[in-house]
């Protein structure tokens, strides 16, 4: 028998409803909607035209979310190395490090989130 933990939103029946959008928590071995698992998060300032690495210690390539401060108090999600905005910061991740690259001419603040979830 598969193991289940479900908490339905108000107005929905957790025992009969199968739409995951109707649940605040939907954990079911059979449907396998895996919830991403945060390992760590941090902030780092990267100087002009250099990179900084963050060792994650996982031994595989993990799921990452990263943001940079595009203006004072404004954070933009980073979507990869080919950002259409020129000279835009980006990140790369391998089985050892998260690398945050600042291609601009002044220092940039990054926020990053590293998850246990293996993407390879």
């Amino acid at each position: 028998m598969t193991k289940v933990i479900k908490v339905a939103l108000s107005g929905y029946n957790a025992e009969t409803d199968t739409d995951p959008d109707h649940f605040s928590l939907y954990v079911d071995q059979a449907t396998d909607y895996i919830l991403i698992k945060e390992k760590t998060r941090g902030e780092i300032t990267v100087g002009a035209t250099i990179s900084e690495t963050v060792a994650h210690g996982l031994g595989y390539v993990p799921f990452i979310m990263a943001f940079f401060e595009s203006a004072a108090g404004v954070y933009r999600k980073i979507h990869g190395a080919t950002d259409p905005a020129s000279s835009s910061p980006y990140f790369e991740v391998d089985s050892t490090n998260l690398t945050l690259r600042n291609t601009t001419g002044s220092s940039v603040n990054f926020s990053y989130y590293i998850f246990y979830d293996n993407i390879t």
């Binding site: 071995q29 909607y33 919830l35 698992k37 954070y75 999600k77 979507h79």
Partner: protein, 131 residues
């Protein structure tokens, strides 16, 4: 003694110490969608790059994910790219609408979109945690 709720993947043990063996493990934070919404905008193509803002009431700078769908097209796509309307071994034709980026501050979410012709665009956004 700390309390833990965990559900292993089928075929994996709940005694595993490998986080990837679990569908859910209460020791590990999972991101919650604290707010979601849609916004429909008309981009008139002049200037080609325009920004659209959406006020949010989070009271902090949220982590935002967003996707756009151009009217008449069935697919959605994230920032940093065009919609692809035709792709084959020899050709890749975009829809000409680039979703440049999404960013947020304490008050607003800003969407930057580039196109040279008038388009009706539907934006769907999700606010997760505080950055």
């Amino acid at each position: 003694m700390s309390k833990v709720i965990k559900v292993a993947k089928i075929g994996k043990s709940t005694n595993s110490t490998e986080p990837n063996d679990f569908v859910f493990h209460s020791d590990y934070n999972t991101f919650k969608i604290i707010k979601e919404g849609t916004k429909s905008v008309t981009h008139d193509g002049t200037p080609a790059t325009q920004t659209f803002t959406q006020w949010h009431t989070s009271g902090f700078i949220p982590l935002v994910s967003a996707f756009i769908t151009v009217d008449g097209e069935s697919y959605a796509y994230p920032p940093n790219g065009y919609g692809v309307s035709l792709a084959s071994a020899k050709a890749l034709v975009t829809n000409g609408v680039r979703f440049d980026y999404v960013e947020a501050d304490y008050s607003n979410i800003t969407f930057s979109i580039t196109t040279s012709s008038s388009k009706n665009i539907n934006i769907r956004y999700f606010l997760l945690e505080e950055i």
